[in-house]
Symmetry: C2
Subunit: 218 residues, 2 copies
Amino acid sequence: MDEKITFALRKIALLGAIDDYVTISSRELGDILDMSQQSASKRILDLMDGEFITRDLGTRSQRIKLTEKGVAALKEEYNEYRRLFELDDHIVIHGTVSSGMGEGGYYICQKGYVDQFKDMLGFVPYEGTLNLTVDKDDLEKIDLLRRPSDLILKGFTSDGRSFGDVFVYKARIKNMDCAIVMPERSHYRTTLEIVCQYHLRRTLSLTDGSRVDLKVEL
Amino acid sequence: MDEKITFALRKIALLGAIDDYVTISSRELGDILDMSQQSASKRILDLMDGEFITRDLGTRSQRIKLTEKGVAALKEEYNEYRRLFELDDHIVIHGTVSSGMGEGGYYICQKGYVDQFKDMLGFVPYEGTLNLTVDKDDLEKIDLLRRPSDLILKGFTSDGRSFGDVFVYKARIKNMDCAIVMPERSHYRTTLEIVCQYHLRRTLSLTDGSRVDLKVEL
DNA sequence: ATTACTATATACCGAGTAA
DNA sequence: TTTACTCGGTATATAGTAA
């Protein structure tokens, strides 16, 4: 979505053009957008071209109203702001990609977990986890995760082997949705295990030692 | 606020850069902003120039965090969206500016009302009202206002003359805060009387017959 | 691999103006 | 009064490249 488009669209919407047609000349819109009458006129044509607004043009006035698509475009941007300011219950954990087989990777591939995981997060995890060695300065942030998550994969028994509960924390790496998996009885460690729908190493071109910022929802 | 600035700022904030430093190369930012590495680099310099972000630049990576000013800029835009989508309890009434002495204008200038008005709306109304003849198609919308407003100027007696209650409805004309005043015992009319901190006729260059879109909070 | 400079290409803006 | 065209000046973007 072009930022010039949503800027003009938002200013027009603020005049009430979501609910009904609003009378606004290109000169007036130019004043609001801090640009010339000519540029505002062009912007209106662009908005119509993208079907973000409809207009009925009289000989000495025009009336503008947002289309469904126009409202949707604004809502999309609004949701980005909500992610920033309404759900500001997250922390950022810095760390380094490391290898080494974590038991979380073994756990999460069990069918008993995968089905629950899909219901919970909405995706089937890629087979295998990304190991993240947490920066020394951020180790204390892990304790914030030790509070029982409200996302818990229930334990089960399979082939005579018992699998315990696993805590899950929704997270993001560079806008990629992922999750921390943490077996309930894991001992204190400096490494987190991340699961994702995609192969994070390949998708984000990560190798051992790559720096990663993990944004975790609390 | 320049829209290019807030666009880049928002995308960086979404990576978690409000809470803490976040590692992001200009190449990666370019991908996110759909522009070249060079332009993204320039955008970062612009953001630093405006003191919207701080950066610590290493030899092979940079870390970015929003400043107070940067967060404030985003919150300003967020508030515009809240006005659009959270308080969507309003209607738009179309009408035409007309003259003719409404009794509302006489009423509202009484000291007994003005003091209450200032407490309620936060401004002292300009002496005189703007008369708005409502479009035939929008007359039924006035009935929505007939529900008792939660903003009521209490009646009083002055010089042996009694003044009744007046309903007040917050409204906006082209982003100007104003209010509809409606004496409780007024008979059904097709004309609304608008008060504002400023002289609306002059400020908005309105003359008799000018088309006006009135956005009313319910 | 980075960031960011310079130079060239492109897009954008607005003055003038027609309808 | 409007809207919106053309056109020329300016700002913005990117390719090439240095550090």
